[in-house]
Amino acid sequence: MQVTTMTFTVEPCSQDTVLVRIGKALDFRNAADFKSTCQTQVRSGARNFILDFSETGILDSTGLGSIFSLYRQVSPIEGQVVFAAVSRPVQVVVQLTRTYKVFRQFPSVEAAKESLV
């Protein structure tokens, strides 16, 4: 069952893996909503997060910080945060901040699901 918050759609993929569709932007305007969305999923048992960036035109420092926050929550419980279908604007941020060293990237949501589920 999909759950749609103000900006983010969450789809369960397995017992402990969820897909979060980021949509057009993850930035200072909705990062708090993203954090809240993910915290709810972690409390419900999710520890692996696939972030779908296929439609994302904006990822700023605050958005990236909210992803780091999620990473800090799930990594102690051996969870993962992975990026799927990364758009050019997001890829620029990933390259600039070298965060590809931490967050695996997959060319598609399906490829990410195959790896994690």
Partner: protein, 148 residues
């Protein structure tokens, strides 16, 4: 390329308008490298204007932000002027660097502006007029190593 000036008066839409303005102004640039450089220019403008939106004091004045953007060969030049009360950029950068821990949740915006640009200058023209200018080159390879 002659500079093109854009004006934003609505803080709720300023970052989006700035990104659109850069896209429109630089639409004649083509090529793989310059596409990423345009994205970087949009990111930096976003971070600077987001900082204004989130933290600037306009002391009851109607916000007035302008963005000039143009190219000189492989370089994008940007100037953002605003009528806020201004801030101490060096002090804020120092604070942000000191507080930048592992997997940082906040404080990266101004650091990104500083690290991803060259010739960053922030001037207080008067109490209610401030100007930031910077350059971004398609030939540079900036990065920010974050401890995660």
């Amino acid at each position: 390329m002659e500079s093109v000036k854009h004006r934003f008066r609505d803080l709720a839409t300023a970052v989006d308008e700035a990104r659109d303005a850069i896209d429109a102004t630089l639409s004649s640039w083509t090529g793989e490298v310059v596409a990423d450089t345009v994205e970087l220019a949009k990111l930096v403008a976003h971070e600077w204007i987001a900082n204004l939106v989130r933290h600037a004091s306009f002391s009851g004045r109607a916000p007035d932000i302008t963005l000039d953007v143009w190219t000189e060969g492989p370089i994008i030049r940007c100037v953002v002027e605003d009528n806020s009360s201004g801030f101490d950029l060096e002090a804020e950068l120092d604070l942000a660097r000191r507080e930048l821990g592992r997997a940082p949740e906040r404080g990266m915006g101004l650091i990104m502006v500083h690290e991803f640009t060259s010739d960053l200058v922030y001037e207080h023209l008067n109490v209610t007029h401030h100007r930031a200018s910077w350059s971004i080159s398609a030939e540079d390879n900036p990065h920010l190593d974050l401890q995660v």
